[in-house]
């Protein structure tokens, strides 16, 4: 083991944390919006989730990297996050699925990390003060503070364009035809959809006409990073598609559905990032433990012409809606999991039923 390289994390409000540099070497400054995620397993999925574009991920669970990384669990070809903050990065991993270490993965993808941080202090700070820009690295405190203050975070930045596919491609071999808008789509979503349908993944700015020209049985709007109000092209497409074909949106896709129908979204103080969030289905009263990753939410009561179907039990955040009189619905949480509980996976079947109803004339 080489001697640890001291590094600092500085938040834009001046809070300083001491740690040591891990991951991609020689990074003097890595900046982004600092958020925390409370999952205890699934770090590979989280780090590779494109929804974290522009963000630095703090893991509240102290030991990260224990089971290494493997070829199956990444949510995208490469991570889009700006950095990783941990209490303790495993030196040695152990799992039969592992093909490499997390440390090596971060280096390979040029993602900087900082370890040894009192992540509980950091989490409490973000909880109380809200998610905020920060910077970490081997640079001095003043440089890092300046970088943190200069960091726009996720506000006013079109992050979806950074992560969406440049060209359409097809995955899956299911019997139906689905077009999926890639706003930062996770591969677990693609595998869930791929079981139902042959899925054509299209760039975020694809106009509705082009999508309809593919004669889909249903259109899917994916998760993605940043402020939903900045993903206007996809929202515009949604306005056209709702009522025409069955539509399903997850996370950002769901927020866009709300915006397309005239609803409002807002930025939460520190969002929901974890795998243990209870969500109630208002129709059945049943509770599902869900995987969540969002900083923005839809304002309850703001969306005309919909039924609000799901709520978060922790803080009453609106978690799902379906459009009255149209085959369109969306959920704020991640039914595909990756990582997290599978409790809500039935939403994919619901989408399939919707498509089948439309296909099979009564």
């Amino acid at each position: 083991m080489t001697a640890p390289v001291p590094a600092l994390l500085v938040l834009c409000d001046g809070e300083i944390f001491e740690g040591e540099a891990v991951g991609a070497p020689d990074i003097e400054v890595a900046s982004g919006e600092v958020v925390f995620n409370t999952v205890m397993s699934g770090y590979q999925e989280v780090i590779s989730d494109p929804s974290y574009a522009g963000q630095i991920i703090t893991f509240t669970y102290p030991h990260i990297g224990n089971y290494g990384i493997n070829g199956a669990d990444s949510e995208a070809a490469r991570p889009h996050c700006r950095g990783v903050i941990v209490r303790d990065l495993a030196r040695r991993h152990s799992n039969w699925r592992a093909t490499g270490s997390l440390h090596g993965f971060l280096r390979r993808h040029g993602i900087a990390g900082i370890a040894g941080i009192d992540t509980r202090r950091l989490t409490r700070h973000i909880r109380d003060a809200g998610a905020m820009p920060g910077a970490f690295g081997t640079a001095d405190e003043a440089t890092l503070l300046a970088a943190a203050r200069a960091e726009p975070g996720t506000r006013g930045v079109d992050l979806v364009s950074e992560v969406t596919t440049s060209t359409p491609y097809t995955v899956g071999a299911g019997p139906r035809r689905v077009v999926a808008y890639d706003l930062g789509i996770k591969s677990t979503i693609l595998s869930c959809l791929g079981e139902l349908a042959t899925v054509t993944v299209v760039p975020a700015h694809t106009p509705a006409d082009e999508v309809l020209a593919r004669r889909p049985d249903g259109v899917f709007f994916s998760n993605g990073p940043g402020d939903p109000e900045l993903a206007e092209p996809a929202t515009e497409a949604l306005r056209r598609l709702v009522g025409t074909v069955p539509v399903f949106g997850i996370c950002l896709g769901y927020q866009l559905l709300a915006l397309a129908l005239g609803g409002r979204t807002f930025k939460m103080r520190f969002g929901h990032h974890g795998g243990n969030v209870p969500v109630r289905c208002t129709a059945t009263g049943g509770i599902e433990i869900t995987s969540q990753n969002h900083n923005f939410a839809v304002e309850p009561g703001s969306v005309p012409g919909v039924t609000e179907t799901h709520f978060c039990l922790n803080d009453s955040t609106l978690e799902g809606l379906c459009v009255d009189g149209a085959d369109a619905f969306g959920v704020q949480h991640h039914p595909e999991a990756g990582p997290g509980p599978h409790d809500a996976r039935h939403h994919f079947a619901r989408f399939a039923e919707m498509m089948d109803r439309r296909r099979a004339p009564a």
Binding site: P62, H93, R120, I287, N314, P339
Partner: protein
């Protein structure tokens, strides 16, 4: 779905006495359940035979039956109370088994009581291994290949189809008793036979061995709307092959990728649904093949368990409390999360720390036991430690064990490991033992690779690599002088969990200096909070652990704080009784306006429930860790005298002005032999002659002076550790060796190694008496109770049955005992509790031989054996018997209240008119009438009986002696001593036969009392069998002996083992000889144990049993609630007579 209104009253079945595999975690669970159901407006009826529990406090339930947990007794309770529902899932395996019996007997149906929490089908599906396996296969889950057998022939066939190695498990057992692994056909024969015998239905499961696989457990809850959550995942450091109760376990799971974890989670929910756990908590165990990830389901428990208690403490999610509410109809989302106050219970806790549980064993108590861990649980307690990393929590856990370890090696006790060479060490580590964790570290430190160690032991490389971080830090630390340590260095060491004591050992510096230097470098612990949510929401519950981070989360307190030091891991001699006292102290002091702060590391207990006190610190009870809490809390005082020896041993290392109650100096006075002798002489209290010794030569001198037999014992040890009665020089020499540095006690690093050994004349045939008393700062003394032991002196008081009031002692003797107790309390300046042990030697002619004060007229000599100014094991029993909350009273006295004040508050009953309270100035009265004793004025007798774990240690002799070996106790109350004794036997699991043959083989000293017992047996129609000497005595006394039994070696006649094995004996009375070959007795007792026969090992107990059986002919035992007993307590003044049916001949 709100609470069910169609039920009004609920019977909760407790788990009974503490046994290996079923300990105070069920008191924790049951107490939570009783409280929450009462708070919801239900009438709660509780049945539990264990008086040392908080749940049997009369305030916890509406009606508390301290009665044997026996189906027939429960049926009577149900008939009497007519509960609408029975909740069996909080009483461990005992609760489930009883529920099954009650259902099968039709009692529930007849009385219109519904089983809630788990129904009979669910219990059967989970408990019956074949049904369970079938159910798992039905829902597509993988299980080890297996088959069942009911006799040895079919067992062999199953073994051949499954393929060796196989694991054999008996059906319907708890804690894995009778389970074994076989790798060869020969091993299989033996293991299968043991398993068939252990199963109450003579059925075993033979399955594919998955020894060496990784082991995981999920704690799951389900509500009646089918909402399911995982409360906690647990990964075992020890791979499959070691019972999970004997494994070091870690929460959360460390080495599962998320898809694997989710597969396990989905499977766990499927298991609950299929088994049919409609509501409540269950644990599901899995094994994972490390090479392929194949997951198989091992077992599930449709009830709260030891691991659910651990999971509750590890996460802050109170499983039992929530399970109880789910059982009465609530759903998870309707129940708030206590810790956050704002979120519901329908979520999954997430941790931002690592929890390590480490078992504590008591092999040193069972000579002959191998010390090898296997699939049958052998540990008697456990500790839990919380750290931000695994390294930190592991080292904290190891120093919490209180076995002389300062952490993961780097302490004097590592010498045992250091003596082995690499090959020996690696070979040793392949066998799972309590030492293995230390061996792993030593191997890695010596440079043996993680791969090699993992291959040899099956311990996952991730855990080993973490351990090697500790190993690698050690040379770095050793290369530095403590003065050369900088802040970063201190912080790195402390973050790896090194204790100041370890560092002091490495540097050869005093621990206080290490601490001072560290603090000067600015490295102090920070306290974080267990909050169920990794800080996502603000926690309202102050449940803390120490770590070395940037910031602290302790909030200032509004009221003066008192720190209560708990009793640490359960062990033989120090268990639930002390936790009970600590919990009561918390209750009393909270009520008196203090904020109470609990420090403890035992996850099974009520004291570590986050709402038992105002604040909870889950910390090791070492000087360093307790000092840290004191620094954080700035208390007005610290209570060290209620948690047994653990906190008491700390008293000298805490600031003297903070120690509440009796001073550390007085505690020392009671332990220091010379000064104690002088005290007794000064106040005129006789002691058995004796002296102290630091060598065999000195000990022999004392023995020569006082005469054999002598009692040899170390000071400052609870539970009679290493205590021995010796009859000659050879035995004395062996006993002294055991106490020396290389004896087991020395290895434990116990203070005995630095203190002289006590050598006293042993009083044969004396009656032992225990007294618990309290004294306030004005000098008023109140006797709690005088307890007469059933077994004679020489059997450890913790292993002896005893009665309140004394069954045979005259009023005059009791007066003398009370008087001596008062004098000692006065001399020791006790503030709080005092326990005194006496030996009463009755003179055959009815007159005392010595001129000791007060003894002349009593016909007996009273000797004081020892006095301890602290809580004793009997405090809860006294409280249950008398209705006086003795530990609460003591806690109040320690912070300055007086007995008079407590009487006026109503915590104590008004002073009896016949005896005015004594003041400090008053002369102790030698003839104080026993009317001043609380509680003995009732119309009943309370008997405490112990439960021994010999069935877990088949190689150890099942005989009582001066070393305590019982794990738990039961209490029985009835109108007479005999009835109460027989009931206590039933409660302890011994069903005395109503007819048949009684076998007697008695030591000479027991023959007189044995004859009295034999007369009763004969009168009742039992037939008697006896060995030659005993037979002669019986016949001489006019009792016919039907069978004279041969000695084992004899060629003629049938010997006892033969008769026992042939089923011709129904009760074995065998008292061991004081000296000489014990082979016969060993074999007889062992045969009795195997045959499941009731075994009585003292003459006194035989007489008590005979008396009780005699009375049972005329009446059935009483079934009455504790509340009712206490209500009538001071109404009657009739003192129950001596053992009824006994002729005073």
């Amino acid at each position: 779905m709100p609470r069910r209104d169609d039920i009004e009253s609920i019977l909760i079945i407790g788990s009974g006495p503490i046994v290996i595999g079923q300990a105070c975690e069920f008191d924790y669970s049951g107490t939570q359940a009783c409280r929450v159901l009462r708070a919801d407006g239900y009438r709660v009826i509780l049945a539990n035979s264990n008086p040392a529990t908080i749940m049997t406090d009369p305030e916890v339930a509406d009606a508390t039956y301290v009665e044997p947990l026996d189906a027939a007794v429960l049926a009577r309770i149900i008939e009497q109370e007519r509960p609408d529902a029975v909740l069996p899932t909080l009483g461990g395996q005992t609760g489930l088994n009883l529920a099954t019996e009650l259902v099968d007997a039709g009692v529930l149906e007849a009385c219109g009581a519904e089983l809630i929490g788990a129904d009979a089908t669910a219990i059967a599906t989970a408990e019956d291994r074949q049904l369970f396996k079938q159910a798992m296969l039905e829902i597509g889950l993988d299980v080890p290949r297996s088959g069942t057998a009911r006799h040895i022939q079919s067992a062999r066939e199953v073994m051949r189809s499954v393929g060796l190695p196989v694991i054999v498990r008996p059906a319907y057992i708890l804690g894995g008793r009778g389970t074994g692994i076989a790798s060869t056909a020969e091993e299989f024969e033996q293991v299968a036979a043991v398993g068939l015998e252990a199963s109450p239905i003579s059925e075993i499961l033979i399955e594919e061995s998955i020894v060496g696989w990784k082991e995981f457990e999920l704690e799951v809850m389900r509500d009646r709307a089918d909402n399911c959550v995982v409360v906690c995942s647990i990964e075992n450091l020890d791979p499959m092959g070691v019972h999970t109760g004997d494994s070091i376990t870690v929460a959360p799971a460390q080495t599962l990728s998320d898809p694997e974890y989710q597969q396990m989670r989905n499977a766990a929910f499927a298991v609950l649904r299929r088994v049919g756990v409609e509501t409540g908590g269950s644990n599901v165990q899995f094994a994972v093949d490390p090479a392929t990830g194949r997951q198989v389901v091992i077992e599930m428990n449709p009830r709260v368990s030891r691991s659910s208690a651990l999971a509750s403490k590890a996460t802050g999610f109170p499983i039992a409390k929530i399970a109880a509410r789910l059982a009465v109809g609530y759903t998870l989302d309707e129940i708030p999360n206590d810790i956050t106050g704002v979120t519901p219970a329908s979520f999954e806790p997430t941790l931002d720390y690592v929890v390590t549980k480490i078992p504590r064993w008591a092999f040193e108590k069972f000579q002959g036991a191998s010390g090898t861990l296997g699939t049958s649980m052998q540990s008697v307690g456990e500790v839990m430690a919380i750290g931000r990393t695994f390294c930190e929590s592991l080292q904290k856990g190891l120093r919490s064990l209180e076995q002389g370890r300062f952490g993961l090696n780097a302490d004097p006790a590592e010498a045992a490991t250091e003596r082995l060479d690499d090959a020996e060490l690696l070979a040793a580590a392949t066998v799972p033992t309590p030492e293995r964790i230390f061996q792993l570290e030593a191997l890695l430190r010596r440079g043996v690779s993680v791969q090699a160690v993992s291959a040899a032991t099956g311990v996952d490389p991730w855990f080993l690599d973490q351990i090697s971080r500790i190993s690698e830090e050690r040379p770095v630390l050793e290369s530095l002088a403590p003065e050369a340590m900088n802040r970063a260095g201190w912080r790195r060491a402390k973050r790896l969990g090194f204790s100041d004591a370890q560092l002091a050992h490495l540097w050869g510096a005093p621990e206080t200096e290490v601490r001072a230097l560290r603090e000067r470098a600015g490295v102090r612990p920070t306290f974080k909070t267990v909050d169920t949510c990794a800080a996502e929401f603000e926690a309202t519950t102050p449940y803390h652990y120490s770590t070395y981070e940037d910031t602290d989360e302790i909030r200032p307190a509004a009221r003066p704080r008192v720190v209560i030091c708990g009793s640490g891991p359960n062990r033989i001699g120090q268990g639930i009784e002390f936790d009970y006292c600590c919990v009561h102290a918390g209750q009393a002091l909270r009520g008196a306006g203090y904020e109470t702060v609990m420090v403890n590391c035992n996850p099974e207990t009520v004291s570590t429930d986050y709402d038992a006190n105002d604040r909870l610190y889950f910390e090791p009870l070492t000087a360093e860790d307790v000092a840290n809490v004191i620094a954080a809390e700035d208390p007005v005082g610290v209570i060290v005298s209620l948690g047994g020896q653990t906190p008491l041993a700390l008293s000298g290392r805490l600031p003297a002005e903070l120690v509440l109650g009796t001073s550390a100096a007085s505690i020392d006075l009671a332990e220091d032999r010379e000064r104690w002798n002088a005290l007794c002489e000064r106040v005129g209290i006789p002691q058995p002659p004796g002296g102290t010794a630091t060598s065999f030569t000195e000990a022999r001198k004392v023995a020569a002076r006082v005469g054999y037999p002598v009692l040899v014992r170390p000071s400052y040890v609870l539970g009679g550790r290493a205590m021995a009665i010796v009859y000659d020089d050879d035995e004395l020499s062996a006993a002294i060796d055991e106490l020396a540095d290389f004896g087991s006690l020395g290895r434990e690093g116990g203070p005995a190694s630095q203190r002289p050994v006590l050598v006293d004349r042993f009083l044969e045939d004396a009656t032992e008496v225990d007294v618990d008393a309290v004294r306030d700062h004005t000098g008023e003394v109140q006797i709690g109770a005088v307890m007469e032991h059933v077994e004679e002196a020489g059997v450890h008081s913790g292993d002896s049955a005893c009665t309140i009031p004394p069954a045979t002692l005259g009023d005059e003797v009791v007066s003398v005992i009370c008087d001596y107790t008062r004098r000692i309390a006065q001399e020791l300046d006790v503030k709080g509790l005092l326990n005194v042990q006496f030996a009463v030697k009755r003179s055959p002619n009815g007159a005392g031989r010595s001129g000791a004060a007060g003894a002349a007229a009593t016909g007996a000599d009273v000797f004081v054996i020892e006095a301890n100014p602290r809580a004793s094991r009997t405090v809860p029993f006294v409280a249950k018997a008398t209705g006086i909350p003795l530990a609460m009273v003591a806690a109040r006295l320690m912070v300055g209240a007086t007995l008079a004040e407590l009487r006026s508050e109503g915590m104590l009953p008004p002073a009896p008119e016949s005896a005015a309270p004594e003041s400090a100035a008053s002369e102790p009265s030698a003839s104080l009438p026993p009317a001043s004793l609380w509680g003995v004025n009732g119309d009943y007798v309370a008997v405490k009986e112990v439960v021994l774990p010999f069935n877990r240690f088949p190689d150890a002799d099942a005989v009582l002696g001066p070393e305590m070996r019982s794990t738990g106790e039961v209490m029985a109350i009835d109108a007479t001593p005999g009835l109460a004794f027989v009931k206590a036997q039933l409660a302890a699991g011994t069903r005395l036969p109503e007819t048949g043959t009684v076998f007697m083989s008695l030591a000479d000293r027991d023959k007189a009392v044995g004859l009295r017992a034999a007369r009763i047996f004969h009168r009742l129609g039992y037939s008697l069998a006896a060995t030659a000497g005993t037979a002669e005595c019986l016949r001489g006394g006019g009792v016919p002996v039907a069978v004279e039994v041969a000695k084992l070696g004899d060629h003629e006649g049938r010997h006892a083992v033969d008769l026992i094995e042939a089923g011709e004996i129904q009760l074995v009375i065998n008292s061991p000889r004081g000296r000489g070959p014990r082979a016969d007795g060993d074999h007889i007792r062992s045969a009795a144990g195997r045959a499941g026969l009731p075994l009585v090992t003292t003459g006194a107990a035989a007489l008590a049993a005979a008396a009780g059986l005699s009375e049972l002919r005329d009446r059935s035992p009483t079934v009455r609630s504790l509340q009712e007993y206490h209500r009538n307590l001071r109404g009657a003044a009739q003192r129950p007579s001596e053992w009824a049916g006994v002729n005073h001949d």
